[in-house]
Symmetry: C3
C-alpha cells in the first residue's frame, strides 16, 4: 500500500476540527499544569508499575510533581515501545518544543520546566484545544454534578450512571442522590422520581448523552413491577454485598431496575445512552489508582437483546472492551437501527486492534452509524496524540479498502472519513 | 505487497468455472426479474432499515417493485461504504451496463429499466450463469421438496434439516413430514423411518449434501435409547415450548435424537453433513424479513466433539458464524479427518474477516480439506460479485503468504487457489 | 511495506544466538537420527491423518523408519500449504543439502539417505545447535527425572507439573512421587512435603522454571485448609474419576491444592511458573499419538485473578492456546507486574496469528515483559525453521509498526527485537 496515499489522506483528515464525544475532562481544570498531570495518567503509572516500579514509589503520599515525573521517567526505558508512551512523546513534541525521540533521565528536566512554563500561560486551555483541532468536549459527570461554573458550549454534560446502577447499596451514593434531588429513595417509585429529577437537571444544562460502564456479567432485563421490588426493597437496594464480588439475585434485580429506569428516561428525553460493555473492576486491587481493572472476554451483546428491543427510540452508542466483541458490535449495529458503534475503548485502543475493528466496521455498518473515536482523556493535552493515532489507522483503512480495493476517489474516501470523525458525532448526539 | 501480483493471480482465478456449494436459489425462479428481486435481498432491506428507514416503508403490503427500489435507493447514501452495496454496484456494472460508481436517486430509474429489459431476455438465466462462471449450483431444499421440474444437472439438491431438528414440535412440520413420507411420526422409531424415507427420496434425486444451521447453545449428544425417548414422547417431540426461546430438557433430547438420526443417515448414504454453527434466530423480532437473526460469540466446536468422534465416516463441512470461531475451525479441521472448513458465512462474509480466516486456513489446514467459498445467494446475479470478493481476498493471501513469503511460483499458488475454489468442492461433495 | 526493510531486519536478527525457553528435548537424545524422527513429529502424523491417511498406516507396530517416512511423504501433496511442512522443507534445505521446493515420492529417498548420513556424524548435535544459533535449551522434565547424565549448562531443567496436579489420582503417579521423594503422599501435608522434595532436587540441578499446561475449565483458588482437605482425602486425591472427562468437586479441590502448593514453592525458590492455558486433552481419542488434543476458546485469564494476586513475587510467563485469548494476555501483562507474555503456542503458532499477537504485544506490553518465542520442539532440528518463522513475523511487525509508522531507526527496532528474542529470556528466567 502506498504510504504516500495514507499520508495524503491523513493530512486532509487532520485539518478537520472535532467534537470529542467522550472524555473524563474536569471542566474546572481541563488542562495540565505540569508534566506530572500528564504522566500521572493511569496509562503511565500502571505501565511503570507493571514494568517493575513499586506502587509505593509512584503513589508516595506528598510526592511533589517534579520528583514523581523523575521517577516515572526511569521506567520509560521499559515502555518506549508502547503506543501510550508514543502519545506522551508526541504531545511533548507538539506542545512543548520537545525535539528528541525519547524522554530519558538525561533530558526530562528541561522538558519538565519548558512544559510547566507553557502550561502556565493563561490561555493554555484555549491554545491546546486550538492546536489540537478540538472544538467541543463531552464530559463524564457524576449524577450529582451541579453543572455550573464552566462553559457549557465548550464542555458538554454527559450523565454518568455507574454509581446509581452498581453502587446504589453504598450509603454515600444514596445520600448524594437525596442531596441532589431532595428525594429520599425509599421505594422503587421514589428511586424513579429521584432519577427523573437528575435527568431534568441535566437536560436543563444541555446534557447530550447518558453513559455507563458495565461488567461482562450484566444482562439487563425488563424489571419486575415496582410493587414486587418494593417487597424486597432492602435486599434489592440497600443491603451491602455479603460476598465481595458476588451479587445476590435480589441485588441484581435492583440493578436491573435502576438501569431500566435510566433507559426509560433516555427515551423520554431523547438522549443517547452510551453503553461501555465489558469491564471487571478491581481485578488487581493492589494496582495503582485506576490501574486495577481488567476484563473477561466471555461476554456477548445477546445479553442486551431485551434492551435493544424494548427501546427502539433510544440510540445506544456501544463501546466494547474486548476486541473479540467487535464482530458482534458490527453485526448488532448492522441489524438494530438503534445500535451504533462507538470508538475504540481502553484495552482495545491500540492500532493493532483499531485497524482490525475499523476495517470491519467500515465494510459492514451503515456509514451514518459509526462514531469513529473519542479520546477518553482526563487532560486536554491527550486529544491530539490519541485522535492522531486513530486518524492514522483510519487513513490506512480508507487507503487500502476504499481507494485501492474499491477504487474510490480520495475525495470520496475523505468524505467517509470526515463523517466517521465528526459528522456522526453531530447527528447522533445532536450537537 | 505488489498490487500487480495480486491482480495477476486474480485474473487467472477468475477464469475458472465454479460449482457453488451452498445457495438458496429457487430452481424454478433462479434469476431476478427486476432490481426489486435484487435489492429485496435481506442485506439491503436490513441495512436500509438499520440506517433509518422504517420497516413499514420497506415491507408495505402491495408495494410495487419499482417503488420499492426507489425507496431503498434513498438509503444507499448511508450504505455505500458497505461491501454488500459494493456487490450491488458491481453486478449492475457487470450485467446491466451501469457505468456510474453509485446508485442514486438521480440514476436508478434508468438502471431499473435497463436491468428489467435485460432480465426479460428468455435466456437470462443461462447468460447470467455463463458470465458469472458458474456451472452448477447447490440448492437448499425443504425436506418435503418434490425435487421435480428443474434441471438436476445444473441445480444440485441439498437436504436442509433445520425444520426437522428444531421445529418438530410445530404441527405443520409434522404434517409436512407425514405428507411427504406417508408415515405418521408417532414414536422415535417412526420418526427414524420417516427421515429414512426423506433420504431415499433425496438420494434418488441426486442429493449431494445434507445441511443444517445451529444455534450457539446446541451440543449434539448420542441420544438415549428409543424406548426411553418413547416414554416422554410428547415432551420430547410434540409439546410446544412453554417459555419462548427456552428449550425444555426433554425437548432438547428430542432435538438431539432427530439430529443424530440425520447424521446416521448421512453415514448410511455417504452424504456430507454441512454444519452452519452459531446463529440465534429472531434476536430482533421487529426487524425486516430475514433481518432478525444474530449470534452469541460464546460457542465452541468442543460442543461437537461427540459427533465428530461418533461419525468418522461422515464428512462435516463446517461454517462458523462468529469470526472468533475460525481458529477453532482451523484447529479441528487440522486434527479431525472428517472436519473440513466451509467458506465464510453471513456476518463473517466481509473482506476484513475473510482475509484473516483465509490466511489461517491456508497456513494450517490440509489443502484438500478447505472449501473456499459459497455464495449463499437467493438469486443468481449475486454469484459474480460475491465470488469476486472472495477471489480478491484469496489472491491477496496467495500473493503475500505464498508467492512473497514462501517463494512459491505463481503457478503453484494458482494450483492451490483453484483447488480451494473448485477442486475440493468436487472431491468433498463428489460432484 | 518495503520487503527490503523486512529482510534487512531479519538478517540482523538471525545473527543473534538464542536461548530456547521451552522445548520437549530429550537431553539424552536431543537430535534426530533419521527423517523418521523428524517426520514423526506429531504435526506431520496428525496432518497426514487429517488429510486422509489411516492411523493404522502411520502407527503400524514395528514399522521401520524408512517405510514410515515413505508413507508420510505420500501425504505431503495435501499438506505442502501448511507452515508445518514449510518448516520441514526449510530444515531439509538448511541441514541436509536438499535443493528442491517440495519433498515428493520422487525425491524423498535420496533425501532420507543424505539426512541419515549427516545425522550419523558424531558431532551432529553440536553442528545442529551451532547452525541454528541456539546456545541453551530449556527442557520439560517429568517431576521424577533424575536430571543426570546430560550437560546441565546446555540443557536447562524445567519442572513440569501436569501429572502432579491433574493425574494425582493415577496410582502410577503417586508411586513415582513416592519413589522420587521417599515420601508416601497420604495426607495434604505429606503431599506438600513430597513436592518440596521435588523442588529441592530440581533446584540442586539448576532448574530455571516450573511449568504446567491447563484445561480451559481450570480456575485456581486458594485451597481449603489442609485439615479440611484431609477429611475428604480419598475423594480429593485418590479416587479415580467416575465419569470420564468430568471432575468431582472434591477432586477439583485436590487439584487446586496441588497447584497452589506448587505456586508456593515457586515463590519460595524464586522460580517463574510457566502457565500454558487452554488445552483440552483427548478430544479426538482415535487420533494419532499427540494428535488428539484441542481446545475451547471460552476461557478467560480472569480465572487466574486469585493466583496472580496471591503470588506477586512469582513471575508467570503465560502462553495461551486460543488466539482470541491474546488480548486478555496483553492486558493482564500490561496491568499485573508478575504476568509476562510467553511466545505463541501450538494452535496459535502460525504466522497469521503470530503477526496479530506480536503487533498487539509490542504496542501495549512493557518491552521487558515479553518472551518472544520458544520452539516447543522435540528434536533440535526444529529450532531453526520455527525461530525463523517467528523472526520473519517479528521483522515484519518491527518494520511496519516501528520503523515506518513510528519512525524508529532500524537500530532501535533491532534492539527491541533482540530484547524480545533473547534479552528477556535471560532476565526473566535468570539464565
Amino acid at each position: 500500500m502506498s504510504e504516500q496515499l495514507v499520508q495524503r489522506l491523513l493530512n486532509e483528515l487532520t485539518k478537520l476540527a472535532l467534537v470529542d464525544p467522550h472524555t473524563h475532562i474536569n471542566p474546572h481544570a481541563p488542562a495540565s499544569k505540569t508534566l506530572a498531570d500528564i504522566m500521572g495518567y493511569h496509562y503511565y503509572t500502571e505501565l511503570a508499575h507493571s514494568a517493575g516500579m513499586p506502587k509505593s514509589q509512584i503513589e508516595e503520599p506528598g510526592l511533589d510533581p517534579k520528583t514523581k515525573v523523575g521517577r516515572l521517567v526511569e521506567s520509560l526505558v521499559h515502555l518506549d515501545n508502547t503506543v501510550q508512551v508514543g502519545w506522551l512523546v508526541e504531545l511533548c513534541r507538539k506542545f512543548f518544543g520537545f525535539s528528541d525521540d525519547r524522554i530519558t533521565p538525561a533530558n526530562w528536566e528541561a522538558l519538565y520546566d519548558r512544559a510547566a512554563a507553557k502550561m502556565a500561560e493563561p490561555d493554555w486551555e484555549d491554545q491546546c484545544l486550538k492546536q489540537s483541532g478540538i472544538e467541543r468536549v463531552f464530559l463524564t459527570n457524576d449524577f450529582d454534578d451541579p453543572l455550573t461554573g464552566f462553559d457549557l458550549k465548550r464542555y458538554i454534560p454527559c450523565l454518568r450512571t455507574d454509581d446509581l446502577v452498581f453502587h446504589f447499596s453504598n450509603p454515600t451514593v444514596r445520600q448524594r442522590l437525596a442531596k441532589a434531588t431532595g428525594i429520599e429513595a425509599t421505594s422503587p417509585d421514589k428511586i424513579r422520581q429521584a432519577i427523573g429529577k437528575l435527568f431534568e437537571h441535566f437536560v436543563r444544562h444541555g446534557v447530550k448523552a447518558c453513559a455507563i460502564s458495565l461488567p461482562p456479567s450484566f444482562s439487563p432485563r425488563r424489571p419486575a413491577k415496582s410493587e414486587d421490588l418494593a417487597q424486597h426493597f432492602n435486599a434489592a437496594f440497600i443491603d451491602a454485598d455479603t460476598v465481595p464480588g458476588e451479587i445476590s439475585s435480589h441485588r441484581r434485580l435492583g440493578q436491573e431496575f435502576v438501569f431500566w429506569t435510566i433507559a426509560e428516561f433516555c427515551a423520554e428525553y431523547k438522549l443517547p445512552f452510551d453503553l461501555m460493555i465489558g469491564v471487571n473492576r478491581r481485578v488487581y486491587p493492589n494496582g495503582v489508582f485506576q490501574g486495577q481493572d481488567l476484563f473477561d472476554q466471555r461476554v456477548s451483546l445477546i445479553q442486551y437483546k431485551d434492551l435493544f428491543n424494548a427501546f427502539p427510540q433510544v440510540t445506544f452508542p456501544v463501546s466494547v472492551l474486548a476486541q473479540v466483541s467487535n464482530q458482534e458490535l458490527v453485526s448488532y449495529s448492522w441489524i438494530f437501527p438503534n445500535v451504533v458503534t462507538n470508538a475504540h475503548w481502553w484495552y482495545s485502543n491500540i492500532p493493532a486492534f483499531i485497524e482490525l475493528d475499523t476495517r470491519a466496521r467500515l465494510q459492514a455498518v451503515p456509514r451514518n452509524k459509526q462514531i469513529g473515536y473519542y479520546s477518553d482523556m482526563y487532560k486536554l493535552e491527550f486529544a491530539w496524540p490519541k485522535f492522531n493515532m486513530y486518524r492514522e489507522c483510519l487513513s490506512r483503512v480508507l487507503a487500502q479498502d476504499f481507494v485501492i480495493a474499491r477504487k474510490w476517489s480520495e475525495d470520496e474516501a475523505l468524505l467517509l472519513g470526515r463523517q466517521i470523525l465528526r459528522g456522526n458525532v453531530e447527528s447522533i448526539f445532536k450537537v
